[in-house]
Symmetry: C2
Subunit: 735 residues, 2 copies
């Protein structure tokens, strides 16, 4: 296929080269061109090739063309491009076109120039021509940030005619595409050449404003406006902002360009490698560079924010940071950078690697030290778009929340319930002692006794969740991880447990040893724990039902229907067995309270076998919730904790384009989900189905969930708005 | 449901009780029975109940009946019965009936008696009435082995009329069922009562002879004869026998009843618990008991053989051992047993726990020490049945073999090719050094260099396999386990490797540490190794192709088509990537040799995703082989190495009846297999499909494989005849 493209493009390329030559010479026949003409053209091209590609241009003309085109494909296929595509959901299979056009030269004198421009402000969305240009320069000079360009307005003075024409073209292009345009142009001897136009990259704030403005201008419908926003971009808006009160009393040490909004604070580092390394060990870092280049992309992804010395609003750092939703302050010429020695001087102070700094990507302000941040809220255009999204989406959006704080936050961000509350997170902290006592129990009675101590804590947790959700559904997953995750690790803790249990350290160590597993992911966990220790399910059921009864007593108008979710089910009889324990306990609690309350018992679908036998499982399950983390592990046979050892090789070999744990494998895992939803709903028409794996907050996965008829997705609180928007886009596009 | 059965049976029970009473009193009306009559009957029944059930009979008549019937259900549902059913593929859901009949008394005097008999010899199959009886006794007395019974022939003297009638009944029953009958009878005051008849349990040898005889007698067709044999029983015939040469020169220390054939040698132990425990740690043991009881069943399963002091050919030990295919010598009255002190005396020698002993279940001989054993062969009736099986089966039977010895043995037992050769088993022993060198390699070149050392060994192994299979298909699976399985464990070996590699111990330890995985079963293994280290696949391909070429050069008439099998494939592009390496290497080798040779590249289907996307995978795979061990692990989410921690609880809770790793889960895993075969063959009609998991030698799984259209099953050498027979039975029953 590529060779066809190469030949096709090659033909066009030569034709254009020759046409250009003929035009310059004022001739109409190919034969009118002299050998010298062609030689001149070739040498010009060769010089340029060597400069751009970094290798000599081959001598054979066919080879030459192939070489040039291959270079384009190579650049399209380089590892950084692959990472970029992976991050932006662009399939490798789409390929690329090579568009060969004759060169317009912006560097042939003072009546030449080049520039880039946006029809609206890509940072704020404001409707005004924004851009930068340089005289006697080529495009690279503008975007590389080597020379600091002039604002586009000044083009009116330099090239008045071309500028007038340019403004007209801008309007034509925006009207045509009904979207903000990002254009490149060259002026060669005063004549305007448009090099390219595309829908411009923009900050999330700008995206929201532009979409709303286009609706108000009558250019777009509400649905189109909703569809225009890249849900992944919203992430930035949900990032914390600097605490306004603190900010008022703090003087910035410098001000540069607010190139990509948001607030970032962290330790300063000076290379992309260091950024990755420091971030990997949990440090928050700000990457400081003279200027960034494509080699830095992976490092930039790991940084809280990016600070550059050179480059404008369209520099590499600015464009990439906006695309990533990472805060960026660019063009801070006051900085005296010493990258080699990993330090810089600013406002009279020397900053070394590891020194704390804060940057504001909206204002361009730079602060010494760490400025505290506060959470963002949904208002203004963000609120308008979200309201439209809610109007058009058909799928519900819940949240994964284990604490009242998370639940409250998620509700503010639009969550319509809790899709996953992981109860095990409640066993740590000061409750771990009782839980370890439970693990050490020698008899059912001892185990029940220890669980009795945990019950009030757990009930209290659930009460707070029910309170926070104000009657919206709350799905509580019963204990999932293997018990060895709870045992003490340090000698001191082991001694403490031994003392508390009246056992020897050796006995405790033997117990810990006995809990070890070869493949814990497929071991003694999930509902398997409830089968071997039904007491645990009894305690958890009591906690859920008592909590629901207590909250209902305070809020008789709330329709509280707790959803109890049994994890890791693979077989109908297994669910039946655990459900029996749950129902007996729950019914007894409800009867004892003398209050009429409904509750549901459902299951995670996270074992391939459960998906395959969903028709059977649905006879007992009142709801399904896809645990796509585990389902992906087992469907692929990829251990999430180990797959990083080979996933890079898989990306390099183009076997996989995405981490299936980040982006749902619609082909394989998705097939199982589709089968399960269909079979489950055939058995039980009112079965409600959701997803609570990490995928529930990934836009392309949300789209898939909509297409297979899920009733809701559930994701972490800060991804709720993303899921709401993605669900709306799916509903609109699949209408 | 049970309560319906109880009421139904209860009605019949009372009616029969009353009818019997009426007959004895010579009256026709119920009301003619006195209160004393009923009291007498009740007290008789109560006494018997207490003796049998071990608890008092309740007073309320309805309770009484319920109690009696519940006792039957309890005995049907006890853990031992569940284990027995699990071993014999009897689903729990079948339930049981309770047949209540009036009592015939064999213990009312010397004109009474009871016995059990077989219409043919259950040990040899010889056509003659075989049995034992006791006068003035109940059935329990015969089978418990407490009194030593008389041979059935002597019944002619004791009860001539009843005996004549009995022989007639035997013929009627055998003619009716067209199979050997196992009957129980009682003589009450000289009158014969038949208590039950059923198709008799028999040794594998007897089963073969009886089936052949029934064909020769015109009672059964060849197909029916094939269908009569329980394939699991053949196992005994494939067990080793004592070396005849050694046996000739060895004098037995005692002789008792050859109750279940086969040869067993091992250390003597005295309790079922010890048997389990010793066997679990790899010891071969012979269980010595006064007599066995149902409590001993699990222990009996772990023993090489069973030796009892009391009991005849129909004693508990004898019947159960025959059912299990375990060697048993029973009724050795010469033994002075001291179970409490775990010792016995025989032929003047005191045997303590752990002393070596050998027993021959065919001759009943007992030998001091360990007698060497030799492998069994297929001949006589066994050969006849196997020939019929091959005539009627449509599915091929291959073997899992990694060594030429295994391959040869399997071929003798009828294997039609190798379905799975695990190449990693070839990397241990004196080759491990080169393999470890490969693991330690820092560069591709170093790795290739180390692999170069392994190549000749591997090629030699493959040559021997191709030689052994004489042109039949040989499927070679490429490296499968994670590399950490090959690294040195001891300090000494680590030091040795460090020295050989010119590295420090710390460096080697760091490497070993880096290879560790959280869930190795879903880690960096299978074709994932070939993706990260294509050099390994290159080396293995060279070895396979060079070996095939070399053997073909010696045997031009053999049609050698090596089958290269890529393990753990989950995605088409993954297979495509590895296949490209294989094909390029293989084609180069074949071209260099200048010989025309075909080869196939196929894949294991062992990752659920591969089964789900079999239609895609089949575009590249020339064959599928189901690796049902891994497929079961991932479909169920059960780690095979860890599931024992909860499987017992699953059996107890009746969630599972069988270990899904022993008996294929047709419902779940089988569904995936069925989908994969269908989709694969739709894409590639000549795709051949097999199975090479442990299930390939399990009869019920083989039957399933036949039903979904697999072309072959592959199993360990000694299970090949079992698979052949099971495949024939499947073909016959599914015809």
């Amino acid at each position: 296929m590529y060779s066809d493209v190469v030949m096709e493009v090659g033909k066009k390329y030569f034709e254009e080269l020759i046409d250009k030559m003929k035009a310059e010479k004022g001739v109409t026949q190919d034969v009118d061109l002299t050998a010298d003409d062609l030689k001149e053209l070739a040498s010009q091209f060769k010089a340029e090739y060597k400069e751009k590609i970094g290798e000599d241009f081959p001598d054979d003309p066919k080879e030459q063309l192939m070489g040039a085109i291959k270079a384009v494909f190579r650049s399209w296929d380089n590892p950084r491009a692959n990472v970029y595509r992976r991050d932006n959901d662009i399939p490798y299979s789409w390929g690329t076109a090579v568009n060969v056009q004759s060169m317009a030269f912006g560097n042939m004198g003072d009546d030449c120039g080049t520039g880039v421009a946006f029809t609206r402000d890509p940072a704020t969305g404001e409707k005004k021509l924004m851009g930068e240009f340089l005289t006697n320069a080529q495009g690279e000079d503008v975007v590389a940030g080597v020379r600091t360009p002039m604002p586009i307005d000044q083009m009116a003075d330099k090239f008045p005619e071309a500028f007038e024409q340019f403004k007209e073209v801008c309007k034509i292009l925006e009207d045509h595409y009904r979207d903000m345009q990002d254009m490149e142009f060259t002026v060669e001897n005063k004549k305007l050449y448009m090099l390219q136009t595309r829908n411009g990259k923009r900050t999330a704030q700008a995206a929201l404003k532009i979409a709303c403005d286009l609706v108000d201008e009558g250019a777009r419908t509400e649905e189109e406006a909703v569809a225009m926003i890249d849900p992944r971009n919203l992430d930035t808006l949900l990032h914390p902002q600097f605490d306004a009160n603190v900010l008022k009393e703090t003087t910035p040490i410098a001000k540069a360009l607010g190139a990509s909004p948001g607030a970032a604070c962290g330790k300063i580092v000076f290379t992309a490698e260091d950024t990755k390394e420091w971030a990997a060990r949990g440090e928050k870092v700000v990457l400081g560079r003279l200027e960034t280049s494509p080699e830095d992309i992976e490092g930039m992804k790991s940084a809280q924010g990016i600070l550059t010395v050179r480059g404008g609003m369209t520099s590499h750092a600015a464009v990439v940071a906006r695309g990533m939703g990472t805060c960026c302050v660019s063009g801070c010429g006051d900085i005296v950078m010493d990258e080699e020695n990993k330090k810089f001087t600013l406002a009279g102070k020397e900053y070394h690697e590891g020194d704390p700094i804060s940057i504001d990507g909206s204002t361009g302000n730079i602060y010494d030290g760490i400025i505290p941040t506060v959470d963002a809220t949904i208002a203004g255009e963000f609120g308008r778009i979200m309201a439209w999204a809610d109007k058009y989406r058909t799928m519900g959006v819940r949240t994964n929340a284990d604490t009242p704080g998370d639940a409250k936050k998620a509700r503010e961000l639009g969550a319509e319930g809790i899709g996953l509350c992981r109860t095990e997170h409640m066993f740590f902290g000061d409750r771990i002692d009782a839980f370890r006592e439970m693990i050490c129990a020698d008899t059912v009675e001892e185990r029940a006794q220890a669980l009795e101590k945990i019950l009030p804590y757990q009930q209290g947790d659930f009460e707070q969740l029910f309170e926070a959700m104000e009657g919206d559904p709350v799905t509580i997953r019963f204990l999932d991880p293997p018990l060895h995750e709870f045992v003490p690790q340090t000698e001191e803790d082991i001694q403490k447990l031994a003392d508390a249990q009246g056992k020897t350290v050796e006995e405790i160590e033997a117990l810990i040893e006995s809990l070890k597993e070869f493949n814990p992911m497929m071991g003694h966990r999930g509902c398997r724990l409830a089968v071997t220790y039904p007491e645990i399910a009894v305690m958890q059921t009591k906690a859920v039902i008592r909590a629901a009864l207590a909250v209902k007593a305070n809020h008789p108008d709330w329709d509280i229907v707790p959803e109890i979710m049994i994890p890791l089910v693979g077989e109908l009889k297994e669910l039946k067995y655990v459900k029996k324990t749950v129902v007996e306990t729950a019914d007894a609690e409800i009867a004892a309270a003398g209050i009429d309350m409904k509750y549901e018992v459902g299951t995670m679908i996270e074992i391939p076998r459960a998906a395959l036998l969903a028709d059977e499982i649905a006879t007992e399950a009142e709801f399904f919730c896809f645990g796509t983390n585990d389902l992906t592990q087992m469907t692929y046979g990829f251990s999430r904790d180990d797959s990083s050892k080979f996933l890079e090789a898989y990306y390099d070999a183009k076997i996989l384009e995405n981490d299936p744990f980040a982006k749902l494998d619609q082909n394989g895992v998705g097939k199982l989900m589709k089968m399960a939803v269909k079979a489950g709903k055939e058995t039980r028409p009112d079965l409600h189905c959701g997803i609570c794996g990490e995928h529930g907050g990934d836009p392309s996965s949300v789209e898939f969930c909509n297409s297979i008829g899920l009733d809701y997705v559930s994701c972490s609180p800060f991804r709720v708005p993303i899921a709401r928007l993605a669900a709306a886009q799916a509903a609109i596009s699949q209408k």
